[in-house]
């Protein structure tokens, strides 16, 4: 019963992650430069990971953390080609 230090910190981290997701989504939609959009998308992805870890899916968190940057690399490839 009551709010120990652990529960308070957990709730704080979860609220911060939710705010991070919403800020990243808004910035990714309203930025116009592709590089800015990619950086904002990374902010969104960083906000998603604490939710996966909080559920206890550490294996999914590892796999997603390894796979997700590949998408950014592929998009960056076409970013550079279009600009030149």
């Amino acid at each position: 019963m009551g709010w120990g230090y652990q529960e308070t910190m957990n709730d704080f981290v979860m609220v911060a992650s939710g705010v991070l997701i919403l800020i990243g989504m808004t910035a990714a939609i309203f930025n116009r430069d592709p590089f800015d959009k990619l950086i904002s998308l990374s902010v969104l992805i960083a906000g998603v990971f604490p939710f996966i870890v909080e559920r206890g899916f550490l294996d999914v968190a590892i796999a997603t953390a390894l796979i997700a940057p590949l998408s950014t690399i592929f998009t960056l490839m076409v970013c550079r080609r279009v600009r030149i």
Binding site: M14, G18, I21, L22, M25, A28, I29, F30, R32, P34, K37, L38, L41, L44, I45, V48, F51, I52, R55, F57, D59, V60, A63, T64, I67, A68, L70, S71, F74, T75, M77, V78, C79, R81, V82
Partner: protein, 84 residues
């Protein structure tokens, strides 16, 4: 298999899924690159909704196939622009 009704990741996931779909359907600078980057936003929203239903295998598969489809889209864009 019954989950609790409104977990934070379910609400945030639905919000990101809905707004991201609208952003992917009507991209602001109307080109392929913006649409491709905006298409990644509802993918993360869908991942949060899958997390709410405790579907670990679906999370694995969706993360992997999403990156694969991004690579294919990038290749198609390079062919269409006549570079690469």
């Amino acid at each position: 298999m019954t989950a609790e009704l409104y977990t934070p990741e379910f609400v945030i996931g639905l919000l990101v899924l809905f707004i991201g779909t609208i952003a992917a359907a009507f991209p602001r600078p109307k080109n392929y690159l913006t649409q491709l980057i905006n298409l990644e936003i509802p993918g993360w929203g869908l991942l949060l909704v899958m997390l709410h239903y405790n579907e670990a295998l679906a999370l694995f598969t969706f993360a992997a196939v999403s990156v694969l489809s991004t690579y294919i889209f990038v290749r198609v864009m390079q062919k269409k622009e006549g570079i690469g």
